[in-house]
Symmetry: C2
Subunit: 506 residues, 2 copies
């Protein structure tokens, strides 16, 4: 018994150690985390090791900076888009870059895995917005708005595989125009397509085509092909890949991974190869299988109406009714569309016929109701312009054209011909600024005249206002035209007017 007791005592001692260790561990977990954070901060504070900073000098994967030249292009594109949105009477709103995590949950189907979550630092669980549509629906429900036409231009975030040369980023702009409200069918829908047409025409990106389809036609098609209801959305996701992969690959995905019968798959395969215009709508309204389905009939009737309105708008020639168009997002309920740029004739032959989607959208009548406490629906239809791909194309175009892009609006450089005139330059430039003239000067006490003129050449400033001892005595300023090198003395009191006249830019 003594041996047994000793053994037990020993076991007890060992176990007590374990308890102590586990308790310490538990306390330690938090402490260690804190310590690690502190050490990391210390490491970063110290900054250098062997004279080199430890951190990587880069932007996060899938993101980019916009330098002044890129910004000049970006602002040109935005101004085209915004003026179109305003021409159509849109108001503008903005929402926060992040939403409560639960606001985004369950809205994007299989794409939800690409949502960026914020770290739980205490308080609410947040995620970066994935598009502007769900925040818009949340905004409508929260403010009980049943009727609005608005645009929203802002960055959205997707943890996708970036392909930056083709304009695919993890942080990218969306330019959204949406019409919310209970209206007569297809009138707002047609306006959205008119907007896509106007913007793509104005941006002069070459020929384009807008594919349209309807979720009700797709669902009707799935139904008549024998797809079970529960698989509509997941099969829809597969069909959505048809713009990137061949039918054979989609077929093997829906048969293999998603467990559809080969008969159902082949039935879908027959439909998704169809595209046309009003004639195809008419044909499908007569289709022995599809015409039996109520949803499909509704979708086809609306598609017919849509084409009538598009003809009145004079844009039907660029619209293609395409049964292979599916769109990935869960929330669409009616018409859907996607604009693609068509390849130029003289491009590489091996390339596919389209360079990808530059705009897309559709009708989502159920999304606002998902946020409303009483489930009250607000029908919505909208379009999103995928601006990054357009930027990429514009940048390439600019570089190819060798057009020199000015990145400032400066009208005049305030310069001096002699030394010791800093004070006089400061006085003159201050006068010009106060009169609304866009003016710069070199931040040097005694800059050389040649350097001042060179700065104008480099940056495209059209005029130089030069002061020297003589000009100050005479109450004039020598105004030089940088392009022609002509110089005229202008009385100081007339300088502002003269500069305004010579630079008619706003």
């Amino acid at each position: 018994m003594a041996a047994e007791a000793a053994e037990l005592a020993e076991a007890l001692r060992l176990q007590a150690d374990t308890v102590r260790r586990l308790k310490q561990e538990r306390a330690g977990t938090e402490e260690v985390a804190e310590q690690v954070a502190k050490l990391l901060e210390l490491k970063a504070r110290l900054g250098v090791d062997d004279g080199r900073p430890r951190f990587l000098l880069k932007t996060p994967k899938g993101t980019r900076d916009y330098g002044p030249k890129q910004m000049a292009i970006r602002e040109r594109v935005f101004s085209t888009i915004i003026s179109c949105f305003k021409r159509h009477g849109a108001e503008v709103i903005d929402t926060p870059v992040f939403e409560l995590k639960e606001t985004l949950t369950g809205k994007y189907g299989e794409d939800s895995k690409l949502i960026y979550d914020l770290k739980d630092q205490g308080g609410e669980l947040l995620s970066l917005r994935y598009d502007l549509t769900v925040p818009f629906a949340r905004y409508l429900a929260m403010n009980k708005i049943t009727n609005i036409k608005r645009y929203h231009i802002a960055k959205v975030y997707r943890r996708d595989n970036p392909a930056m040369t083709r304009g695919r980023y993890r942080e990218f702009y969306q330019c959204d125009f949406d019409i919310a409200g209970q209206f007569d069918p297809m009138i707002p829908d047609a306006e959205c397509l008119k907007i896509v047409y106007e913007i793509l025409s104005a941006l002069q990106l070459g020929d384009f085509l807008v594919k349209v389809n309807d979720r009700r036609i797709l669902d009707g098609m799935f139904a008549v092909c024998g797809v079970p209801d529960s698989k509509f959305r997941t099969i829809c996701s597969s069909v959505d890949k048809l713009d990137k992969v061949m039918w054979e690959d989609v077929r093997s995905e829906i048969v293999g991974e998603k467990g559809l019968s080969t008969e159902a798959a082949d039935c879908i395969g027959e439909y998704v190869r169809l595209h046309g215009e009003l004639d195809l709508v008419e044909q499908l309204l007569q289709d022995p299988k599809l015409s039996q389905n109520k949803l499909a009939r509704e979708g086809l009737a609306d598609m017919k109406l849509l084409f009538e309105y598009l003809m009145l708008f004079g844009i039907a020639d660029k619209i293609s009714f395409d049964l292979s168009l599916a769109r990935g997002l869960d929330y669409y309920t009616g018409v859907i569309y996607e604009a693609v740029l068509l390849q130029q004739q003289n491009d590489h032959v091996e390339e596919p016929a389209t360079v990808g989607s530059v705009a897309g959208g559709g009708r989502y009548d159920g999304l606002v109701g998902m946020f409303d406490p009483k489930g009250k629906k607000v029908p919505c239809v909208g379009v999103s312009i995928g601006i990054e791909r357009i930027f990429s194309l514009m940048e390439q175009k600019m570089e190819a054209s060798e057009e020199k892009i000015r990145t400032t609006d400066t009208q005049v450089l305030v310069a001096s011909a002699q030394k010791k005139l800093l004070e006089e330059r400061l006085k003159l430039i201050s006068e010009l600024w106060d009169s609304g003239i866009k003016a710069e000067m070199l931040y040097k006490k005694n800059p050389k005249l040649l350097n001042q003129l060179q700065y104008c050449e480099d940056t495209g400033i059209p005029l130089v206002a030069i002061i020297g001892e003589q000009e100050l005595k005479d109450g004039v300023v020598k105004l030089r035209d940088v392009a022609t090198r002509e110089e005229v003395d202008i009385r100081r009191e007339n300088l502002v007017e003269e500069i305004k006249q010579r630079t008619c830019q706003p």
Copy 2:
């Protein structure tokens, strides 16, 4: 011994339970967190319970939506600020909303705890930008830019305690203007102050004051008061609170928490009560203690130069040299400034004399070097306009003035006087859009004329283009002035020109 063994065995059993429990607890911590997340997601996915959604219908704490009215005000303020930045010859850049976590680490001192981190979802560790200055410095170092004048308007993120009625948010805009490059002293610094002056004057927010100081003067002051070098930054953070709390509170913080001697604290207390203009600079240049310190002498000499330039710019009357100004951020190295709005005479007496900072900035000559692999420095000076507080004030002003703010630019509503004219309205509005006219129509097949006119009253649309059977027959459109109710028939081919003439807006 048997009793002892039994006791030990019992103790062992109890302890074994404790071990098991602690081990389970350890494993459980992570599991519970996962379970909670899953349940929350499931809850949100299920969406409704008793017909109500389970999720909260709100924006994240400290954030807000901007509706069309707020956006109209926001765009007015931005346009004032941007035109000032452009008047001073600035280019524009943009950077991603998040940076690598390590890019931000060690740049903000005690404020670092307010940085939003993203969840580790695999890949890089990211944080939301805390300001636009550190991303700017990263951009300069990464692109080896040694010379640029740029502005950047974008949202930044701080996990601070929001006070939204006073314009303090967790997501808020900063409007930054910075000049980077090696230049003659205080010329760019003076321009930054001129910009603050121009913007605050243009926004007509009432009287304001710009406090200036210099980190070198502060550090010199700390040195001559006997503060050890290692405590400069933390004491600086305490002094920074002087705009919100009394000196007594700051004093007890630096003596109590931060362990400074009462003599050192009182010495600081003597200095920080000083404020004035050029005369104070002269006085401190003669100060028996401060003039012994090299850093302080440098700072004071530059402050003298700054005031000379500010006088040439005609803005010295709004600038106050204030030794209590410290600025919280770690990266400042020279002149610092902060603009405050002064209380109107007729406001509440109990309120403090200032409504808080609306702009701030300073010189940060070391920040770019922290990113450069060789530590190469690029001197920088800049200013940030704190736009949210200005928005709050503008919104209050607008509401008080009862000025009706239009939220669209629509020039004309296309209306019909009879039924069955939808197609004709669509044709006409399409013609107007194609000619660049901003036009709307009601999305109804057969809207009542009264409803169409009411829509114009509500939204401020100045003109209505009315078509009926007779007008179509005669090839005219009835153009109605909403304000005067006058109606004139205009030949259809002259309509665009007539609308343009009547609505001279751009």
